[in-house]
Subunit: 175 residues, 2 copies
Amino acid sequence: MSDMMVKISAGLERAFARRGFAEPSVEDLRDAAGVSLRTLYKYTPSRSQMVLAALEHRHQRYLERVFTDLPQESGEALDTILSRVGEWMVSETSHGCLFHAAVAAYPASLPLRDLLEGHKAEVAKKAAVACGIPEKGIELLVLIEGLTQVWSLQGPRALDAAKLLGRALLDRHES
Amino acid sequence: MSDMMVKISAGLERAFARRGFAEPSVEDLRDAAGVSLRTLYKYTPSRSQMVLAALEHRHQRYLERVFTDLPQESGEALDTILSRVGEWMVSETSHGCLFHAAVAAYPASLPLRDLLEGHKAEVAKKAAVACGIPEKGIELLVLIEGLTQVWSLQGPRALDAAKLLGRALLDRHES
DNA sequence: TCCGATGTAGAATGGTTGCTCTACTTGCGC
DNA sequence: GCGCAAGTAGAGCAACCATTCTACATCGGA
C-alpha cells in the first residue's frame, strides 16, 4: 500500500472516530486526510469507500496494539488483553467499537458487514489462542465486546468487571 | 403522552432501527411515522428530536420485554434475562444496541449521551436486583452488552457463551 | 529540456436535505 | 350550523452535499 493511501486512511479513521459517520462531510474528510479533494477521490472514489479505508486502517492498528507481546500464562494473557483494550479506549477516546458504529450507520452495506465479521473473527481467534483456550473464542469475544461498550459508560470499573468475569471463566475451565 | 406522540415515536424507532441513523431522510421518517410532515414537526421539531423520541420509545419497550416476570432464583433469573436479550435481538433484527449506534452516529450530542447513560444504568440496576447481586451490576452489564454485540455475529452461540460466563460469575460469588 | 505522472486549489453542478408555508379537510363541543 | 383545534397533502426554499472539472504546480527520468 502506498504512502499516500496510508496517510489518507489514517486521516479518515481519525475523522470518523472523532465525529461519527453521519456528521462529517467529504470536505471535512479532505481536511482530516490533509490532501486535495481530487487526490482523496483518486484513492477512495466515493464516500462509502472512505469509510472502508478508515476501518481497514483501524483493523491493523487494533490488532497490533492489543495482541503483540502477550505473556505466556493464560490468566496473565487475558488480563493483558483486557487492559490493552481499556488503554485503547482511552487513547482513542472512542465510544464503543467503530466497526459496529459503521454497520449501525449503514446497515444496508454488505462490504461493511463483511469487514466487521472479519475483524471480530480475527479478534476472537487471536484472543483464544493467546489464552490457550481455542474453543472459547466466543466467550472471550463477549468479554471484549462487553468491556468495549461498558468502558465508555463506567471507565476503568468496566475493566475490573471484565477481568473478574475472565478469571471466573478460566477457573471453571481448569477444574 | 398523547396517542399521536406514541404513534410517531414507534414509527421513528422502527425506521432508525431498520435503516440506521445516517440514511433515512426526514421524508422517509414521515412515511415511517405515518403522519404528515407538518404533524411530525409539531411533535418532534427537528431531526435530532426525532432521534430522541425514537430512543425513548425503545427504552420503554426494552425494559418491559426483558425485565418483567423474572424467576426468583438467581441463576434462573440471569439465564432468563440473557435469553430475553437474545429474543429481542431476533425480533428486532437489530445490529447491536440502538443507543450506542445513535451516540456513535452523533458523538457531539449531549442529550443523546445522557439518554444512553440513563438507559444502561437502569438495565444494570434491574439486572443486578433480579439476580440478587446488587453490587455486581457492572459485571452483568458487561455480559448483556457483550451478548448484544456478539449476537449479530454469532447468533445463538453468543447466548450460550454469555450464559456460561454468567454461571461462572454466580458460582464464584457464592463460594 | 521536455514529458508525463502526481499532486494542489477550488469553482461548478446537479441532486438532496431539513424545514417552512399555504391551502384544504375533518371531527367535535356549543 | 359555526368555530376552532388538529390533522393531511404537498409545493417551495435556501443550504448543503457528493462528485466532477478546470487550471495550475512540482518533479524525477529520458
